[in-house]
């Protein structure tokens, strides 16, 4: 508070302007992410101003939202324009005669960045959880509930209602109400049925195969492989650990474990030595912090851990 009022206001305005500029460039895909990160890291006030812009954005109605429906309801009659051509008239028309347009039946999206976790309540009050680096969308209508996972991993607690379809790359799944885990990572699709039942239709080599995955089973497709198997208690724990912020390894190669861990890390771990990569590891670790994992690896495998700005390397001593 030692700064004078005028200086304080000027600095605040300048930061607010910078934050809006960065935000806009990121939103339109024209920003240099590294320069942005430097700007944000250089002063907490920058991060605060940026978060404010994002919070404002999230408070604006989005198509398919209840708020949009309310906006439509505000206009005197149901002047809710449904065709794309009418988007040209997008805006607020007349005093109080406010209406928006949208593409009918649009999908709603939610995503997470690397290392993020997020819980979303779907329109029917079903629960959706997003693991790291995930993009998922949905479109819920009266007679059908469509979900689409575009990348990453989700957990679903689905309530009774209209039929549910989940699309993940080459797999289309009909889901009963229940509890499910689904992932789409590196072109591989994995589905685990914790409660309920999934009927899968998977395109393989131009044809389609159908399979039923019962409660307590998991299925995987991709890379020419396809299998359905019962889940052991350990497998179930491994599949669902991310929901409380953990990652579980059970006698996996270091290479596979590191690949899994890297999904959560913006600074990736690299195993330089092939003989190390084949070693087997196990344990339960926090997804948010690989320190304990790296320590365990260095002690158990007698390896050195070196980090620099871009990566963390595991090398032979």
């Amino acid at each position: 508070m030692s700064r004078t009022n005028e200086n304080r206001l000027e600095a605040g305005d300048r930061i607010a302007t910078e934050a809006a500029n960065w935000w806009s460039r990121l939103e339109l895909g024209t920003a240099d992410p590294d320069a942005f990160n430097r700007w944000r890291e250089s002063d907490p006030a920058h991060a605060i101003a940026f978060a404010r812009v994002q919070a404002t954005w999230e408070s604006l109605p989005r198509h398919g939202s209840d708020m949009e429906a309310q906006l439509a309801g505000r206009s005197s009659r149901r002047r809710f324009l449904r065709n794309a051509a009418a988007v040209a008239g997008l805006g607020l028309v007349g005093a109080g005669g406010i209406f928006y347009t949208s593409r009918a039946m649009a999908w709603t999206r939610a995503n997470t960045a690397v290392g993020e976790f997020r819980r979303v309540r779907l329109p029917d009050s079903s629960l959706l959880e997003l693991n790291t680096d995930t993009l998922v969308s949905w479109r819920f209508r009266e007679h059908v509930r469509d979900l689409r996972i575009e990348r990453g991993e989700i957990a679903m607690e689905l309530v009774t209602g209209a039929p549910i379809t989940l699309v993940a790359a080459m797999a289309t799944l009909r889901l009963s109400p229940g509890s499910f885990n689904a992932r789409l990572v590196d072109g591989h699709v994995g589905v685990a049925v914790l409660r309920g039942r999934a009927t899968a239709s998977v395109s393989v080599d131009g044809g389609a195969v159908t399979a039923v995955i019962e409660s307590g089973q998991s299925a995987e497709w991709g890379g020419g492989a396809s299998r359905i198997q019962p889940m052991t208690a350990a497998a179930r724990e491994r599949l669902t650990a991310w929901r409380d912020g953990h990652i579980v390894f059970d006698d996996e190669t270091l290479e596979a474990a590191v690949a899994e861990y890297n999904r959560y890390l913006s600074r990736k771990i690299i195993v330089a030595d092939p003989s190390l990569a084949a070693m087997r590891v196990g344990g339960r670790f926090a997804t948010s912090d690989p320190t304990a994992f790296l320590h365990a690896v260095s002690v158990a495998l007698n390896a050195d851990v070196r980090s620099d700005a871009g990566s963390i390397q595991i090398v032979r001593k």
Binding site: M1, I48, A51, Q54, S59, D66, M67, R121, G245
Partner: protein
Amino acid sequence: MPKLRPIDRWFIDEVLPHERRYIAAARVLTDNEDEARDLVQEAYVKLLSLDGWAAIESPPGYVLRMLRNLAIEHLRRAKIVSFRRLTEADAQTLWDESPDQFRVMAAREQLKKVIHALEQLPERCRVVVLRRRLGDETPTEIARATGESLSTLEKRLARGMQLLTQALAFQGITVRASESGTPSNEHEPNERKST
């Protein structure tokens, strides 16, 4: 989609929605609205520099305690120490963590504020904001439809968002029209802690 760090996500979901409470509490501890906002900003800056943010049990309660401590620090540094304000402050129930009097604004009230703010925007900025948000159009689609260059769109979107942010700041707007499609604060944020 701008990249948010977990701490930013947490700040937006857990801290910012209660801003009206902080301002009201800070107002009791300071001489005017500007100082109250400064005090809140000071608390935010400290908050964002914390390592243990994820472990904070009640972020709004934590911010309220920070405000009080910061105000005490300021008082101690002042030449003439007056505890009048603190006594006043303690007499208030602002430190109470129950959000009764600052209950999250009703969805309709929030919607009104958002619409009002949108109505105040210059037309050209508003079109870009709405096309992007409500129309979910890609930058290329917007550029084609409006006949503007990408760099012009960038400026209009930035200007529009800056004005909206200014208009809606300190309102404790919590509507999440984005993901849940439900106008309530049902997002549960990142609750990750390292072990």
